[in-house]
Structures are given as structure tokens and as C-alpha cells.
Symmetry: C2
Subunit: 114 residues, 2 copies
DNA sequence: ACTATATTCAACCTAACGGTTGACTTTATG
DNA sequence: CATAAAGTCAACCGTTAGGTTGAATATAGT
């Protein structure tokens, strides 16, 4: 993922986080710090390949980073991208609030004109 | 969606929000307040049925509510479910912080034992 | 050099997703 | 009453997602 629009980042980030295995991986990485792919896979009842693919998905949207040393890949969580989602949430809320403010304002003016 | 586990709620909510059309619908509903399905659909370059399905998805995970009056359905945003996601974010962050704290603590003790 | 380990790549399968169209139900309206 | 309007339901279709297995690649250890 290289310099995409905010909408695409939101889409990819939310989609990544919408899978329970990937959320679990993220949690584990936050708890344990950097982990190897095989170690991560050992916790789950699915193939190493499946986990490898999940990690690639998380990596594509920059929710994790990878540092390759020799044959082992060290995977680490990166929570920065969560900010993008949080910002969207707060924008949504302020849009909501703004409407309510205008609404009450309108009702007060309405009272005066009665 | 009736009394599901938090994990399922997270999955469904994040998946719902990961679609650009549904995010747009949510935004519009926050701006405009309650809207009819047809009105919402008029903004998008896709069939009424597609929008109807998107609305159903948002409704299933309670990001919107529906009030049916006669033949018209009034759709309204409901941002409460966003809290569930925000809480997961903050949990993730504190798990991360906790590990860092333990890590620095360990390093300080390590210095003493040198 | 041989073998084991760490990981990805590629092909495949099934289920789910996002969209379409056409028919149907219910409610308003001339 | 006939017809238009508001929506949903159902069936279909191409694409994507999440999983599998088997092979390939690259690095480490003996």
C-alpha cells in the first residue's frame, strides 16, 4: 500500500481488522512484541500458509511491519493506522453533532417567529 | 443481530464499515438526519436494490435504525456501535503500553543486577 | 554436501460479497 | 378501482476472501 486515498486506506484497514484471526494476531503482537511467523501460526488451528496470508494482509495496510533477518521474519504491530479510523469516527460524530446544533438553533428561531 | 458475542459484533461492524458506499450512507445520514431509502439511493450510481441491501447490512449490525411509516421506511444513523470498536482500539493500545512498561521495568532491574 | 527450518508462491476450492434484474407486496393517490 | 410509488425478496453472476495442499526458495545447522 503506497500513498492511497484516505477512502482506500479506510476500506483496507477496516477490512483487515474485520477478520477475527487478524484481530487476534494484532492483539498477540501487541502483547508479545515482535514474533516470528511460525510462532504466531502455532497458536491457531489453521495452516502456516493461512497465517502467512493473514500477515500479508495486515502488512499491506500497514497494521504490522516486517523485519527479515536471515530466514526468519520478525513481525511487529504498528497501531498508527488505527488513527485514520479514529479520525473518521470523530468526523462522523461531529457531522452528527453539527446537525443537531443547527436543528435546535432552528427550533429556537421558530419559537421567536410564532 | 441479537445478543452476539463482542467478537461477532466487532467483525460485523468493521465489515459493514469497510465498504465505501456504506460509509458514505452513514455520513449522509448523519448530515441529513432520517432519510427514506429512495432518497438515499438517488445519490448513488447504483440500483435502489443495491442500496436497500447496503441498508440492510448496516441495520443488521445496528449502525442504523429503521422506522416504517406506511410504505416509506425512515432510516436513521446510530453511532452507538462505534463505541464497541473504539473500546477495542483502546484495549489494543493499553496492551501495547503494558508491554512497553514491563519492558522498561525489566531493563531497569537488569541494570541493577549487572 | 546434506538436511532441516522458515517462509513464501501458486493453484485450487467453497462461501460470501456487491451488484444486477424481475417479480412481488403494500400503501397512496387521481 | 386502477395505477403509481416505496421497498423488499429471490435468483443470478462475476469477483473477492479465507482456507487448503504441494512445491519452491533461501538460510542454518551437522
Amino acid at each position: 500500500m503506497v500513498e492511497y486515498s484516505n477512502d482506500i486506506i479506510l476500506t483496507e484497514t477496516l477490512k483487515s481488522m474485520s477478520d477475527v484471526t487478524r484481530r487476534s494476531l494484532l492483539t498477540r503482537l501487541c502483547q508479545e512484541g515482535p514474533c516470528r511467523v511460525t510462532d504466531l501460526a502455532s497458536y491457531y488451528d489453521m495452516s502456516l500458509n493461512a497465517i502467512s496470508k493473514h500477515i500479508k494482509v495486515l502488512e499491506r495496510c500497514e497494521l504490522i511491519t516486517r523485519k527479515t533477518i536471515g530466514r526468519t521474519h520478525w513481525i511487529e504491530a504498528d497501531l498508527a493506522r488505527i488513527r485514520v479510523v479514529e479520525i473518521w469516527f470523530s468526523e462522523l460524530k461531529s457531522i452528527w453533532e453539527l446537525r443537531l446544533e443547527k436543528l435546535t438553533e432552528l427550533m429556537e428561531n421558530g419559537d421567536k417567529n410564532d
